[in-house]
Subunit: 376 residues, 2 copies
C-alpha cells in the first residue's frame, strides 16, 4: 500500500487550530476545509459548475447509496466518480458503514461484516470491510474511509466491543486496499467515553495512515460531549496528518472543531437546510418563508459574494419558494455552501495571520445557533 501522491503540510498552528495543505491526485486541499456532500453523485440541486463557483474543493459521495444505485461498476466504467459526476477536484467517499446503521434495517452485525436491507427496495445485502474497499476503489475517490461500526454513543459495554471490531476492520481494509492513488483514512470511535476515545485514537495513530477521522459524533451527544471528545483525541492523533470530523457542518461546530484541531469537515446541512428554505447568515439561520422577507429587496446577506446574493432579493427567493419552483433550492443551496466555504477560507486566513482566537470569538458571539426555531 503506497500513498505517495498524498502529503500534508502544516503551514501554521495556533493553539490547536491548524492551517495546512493536503495534496491529492486531483489537487491540493487547503485546510481547514468544508466538503459539501453529493450523496448520490450529485450535490443536491446544484450543478458541478455552480458548485465550483462557490469555491468548493473537496466533495464527498456516499458509498452506501452508490453501491445500491447505480452500482460501483457503472461508475467504474465511467472512469470513476470524478468523470461520472464531473467533479474535477478532490473527492472523498465514506465506507458505507454509517448509512448501513442509520438508513437501513440492519439485520446482523458480526465480526465479519454487516447484513442489511436496502432502504430503496428492501433487498438484502452484505457489506464487509473488504467489499467496502473494493467498492470505494471502483468509485475512485481520492480519500477513502475504513469500514467502521458507528455504535449508539452512550453504551459503554457495546462501544468497547464495537471499537475493537472497528479496529480489526481497519486492519482488514488496509490489507485489501490496492490503489496507490487513494488515501485510506482510519476512524476513531468510542462513543462519548474519553478512555475509549483515547485508546481508539492511539490505535489509529499507530497505523501510520495518511489521514485520520473522528467518527460517531454529531449523532445525539451534547455539544459539550463533542468538544470534550475532540479535546481528548487532538493531542493523540499525529499532527502531521489531516484530521477529519465526519458529518459535522453547522457553522458553530466548524469553528469549534477547528479550535480543537480538526482540518476537514463534511455535512449535508447546507443543502438540506436549503430545501427547507433556511439560509445561513452571520447572525444565524433565517427561514426565507417568513413573511418578514416578503417585500425585502435585500439579498440573504448583504456582503455575501455568492451567485444568489449578488443577484437575487429575499422577496424573489420567497416567491420561488411559495411558487414551489426548483430554483429556490438551487439558489439557497449555492448560498449555504458558499457561506461555509467562505467561513473556512476566512478561518484559514485568520490562522495564517495569527488572529484565529479573535476571529473565532467574534464569529461565535455573532452567530446564534438555532436548533429548531428560526428567526427572519
Amino acid at each position: 500500500m503506497e500513498d505517495q501522491p498524498f502529503s500534508f503540510r502544516l503551514e501554521k498552528q495556533l493553539g490547536s487550530a491548524r492551517a495546512g495543505v493536503f495534496t491529492t491526485p486531483h489537487g491540493d486541499i487547503l485546510t481547514p476545509v468544508f466538503a459539501p456532500v453529493g450523496t448520490q453523485a450529485t450535490v443536491k440541486a446544484v450543478s458541478p459548475a455552480q458548485l465550483a463557483e462557490t469555491g468548493a474543493n473537496l466533495v464527498l459521495a456516499n458509498t452506501y447509496h452508490l453501491y445500491l444505485r447505480p452500482g460501483p461498476d457503472l461508475v467504474a466504467e465511467h472512469g470513476g466518480l470524478h468523470t461520472f459526476m464531473q467533479w474535477p477536484g478532490p473527492m472523498l467517499t465514506d465506507s458505507g458503514g454509517f448509512q448501513v446503521f442509520s438508513l437501513s434495517d440492519t439485520r446482523k452485525v458480526d465480526d465479519e461484516g454487516v447484513t442489511f436491507k436496502s432502504h430503496i427496495d428492501g433487498s438484502m445485502h452484505r457489506l464487509t470491510p473488504e467489499l467496502s474497499i473494493t467498492v470505494q476503489e471502483k468509485l475512485g475517490a481520492d480519500i477513502i474511509m475504513a469500514f467502521d461500526e458507528c455504535a449508539v454513543p452512550d453504551d459503554l459495554t457495546y462501544n468497547r466491543k464495537s471499537m475493537a471490531r472497528t479496529h480489526a476492520w481497519i486492519e482488514r481494509c488496509m490489507h485489501v486496499k490496492q490503489r496507490p492513488d487513494q488515501a485510506l483514512f482510519g476512524i476513531v470511535q468510542g462513543g462519548v467515553f474519553p478512555e475509549l476515545r483515547r485508546e481508539s485514537a492511539s490505535f489509529i495513530a499507530s497505523l501510520g495512515l495518511p489521514g485520520n477521522a473522528i467518527g460517531g459524533l454529531s449523532v445525539g451527544e451534547t455539544k459539550a460531549q463533542m468538544h470534550a471528545i475532540l479535546e481528548v483525541v487532538d493531542p493523540i492523533l499525529p499532527a502531521d496528518k489531516p484530521r477529519y470530523l465526519m458529518g459535522v457542518g453547522s457553522p458553530e461546530d466548524l469553528i469549534n472543531g477547528i479550535l480543537r484541531g480538526v482540518d476537514i469537515f463534511d455535512c449535508v446541512l447546507p443543502t438540506r437546510l436549503a430545501r427547507h428554505q433556511a439560509a445561513f447568515t452571520s447572525g444565524g439561520r433565517v427561514n426565507l418563508m417568513n413573511s418578514a422577507n416578503a417585500r425585502l429587496l435585500q439579498p440573504i446577506q448583504e456582503d455575501c459574494q455568492c451567485y444568489t446574493c449578488r443577484n437575487f432579493t429575499r422577496a424573489y427567493l420567497r416567491h420561488l419558494i411559495i411558487a414551489r419552483e426548483m430554483l429556490a433550492s438551487t439558489l439557497i443551496s449555492i448560498h449555504n455552501i458558499q457561506f461555509l466555504i467562505t467561513l473556512m477560507n476566512n478561518a484559514r486566513q485568520a490562522i495564517l495571520n495569527g488572529r484565529f482566537s479573535d476571529f473565532s470569538a467574534a464569529f461565535l458571539a455573532e452567530y446564534k445557533p438555532s436548533s429548531r426555531k428560526e428567526q427572519a
Copy 2:
C-alpha cells in the same frame, strides 16, 4: 403611444422564411427566435446564468401567474421582471388571456372582461384589457401582448363573436398603454376558419402595431389546420413587422412555422419534457428513463455543445432520474432549450445563406415527431 426603441429589420427572405433583427430596449432579438418560458419569473429548474449559457435571448413570463403571485406591485418595486428574475435580455409577457381560459374556472366572459377563479386559492378575480396592460406595464417586459379571448377553435359562431370581442379589446389595450419602452403586439384569432383568420389578420395589420401575433393555435387543431391558417395569415400581416406564433415549440412546428413566415415562438415544451425525462435529439425525442440508456456512456446527442452534453453521459442522467435528483431536470432542461435555440440559429443561418429549403427538408426528414410514444 410611441415605440421608438423598437425596430424590425428584415435581413433576408426566402419564400416566406425570414431572417431579421428586432431591436428592443434590452437588446436585439435575432429572428427566427425561440423564447423559453419563465412562467413564474423563472424558467423551471434553470438559473439565469445557465439559461444565458444556452444562447437564449428572448424570455417569456406569464402575466396570469405573476398577477396572482407574487403580484405585479412587488415586481414593480424591483424595477420590473428583468431585475426581479435577473434576466438582462429581452422579455415578453403574455396578456393573461390564454391562462384565464385554460387554467382557471372562468366564471363569466363579457364584452368588458373576464371574471375567473384563481387556480391557486380559488379567489375571484376580474381581468380586463385595461388591467392586463396595467399589470404588464408593472411587470415591465419589452414586448407586451393585447388581452384576447382564446376560443375553442372549431365553433364558427362563437369564434366570430369572440374575434370581434378580441378586436375591440386590442383597441382598448392600445388606448390605455402608456410606456414607450414596451412594444404592444396584437393577436390574430379566428379559430380554424380561414375567412375569420383573414378578417382578423387584416384588422390587426391595420393597427400599425410594432409586432403581430397569431394566437389560438396549438390548442387542439390538426397540424394541417395549423399550417393552413399560417398560410392564410402570412401574406396579410405586414412584412416589416415581426410575427409571433404563440405557444408553439416542438422542433417540427418551429421549422414549419418559419417556412410559413413566423419569426418568434415560445413554448414550455423543452422544460416540461425535461421534467418528464424526455430529451430532443436530431432523430426525435428520447426518453432517458428507457433502460437502453442505462449503461450508455454517450451524451444525449454527440455533436451538441450544451453544458449537459459536454459533460454528462446518458447513464449518469438516467441515474439522476432514478435517484430522483433535481439535477436531472436542470440538465435535461438545459439540453432541450439549447437544442431549440441551436435549431433556430441554424435555421437563421440557412436563410441568410439561401439554403433554408434544403435545411428544413433535411431536418424534417430526420426528425421523427413523437406524440406520446418515445423511442430510446
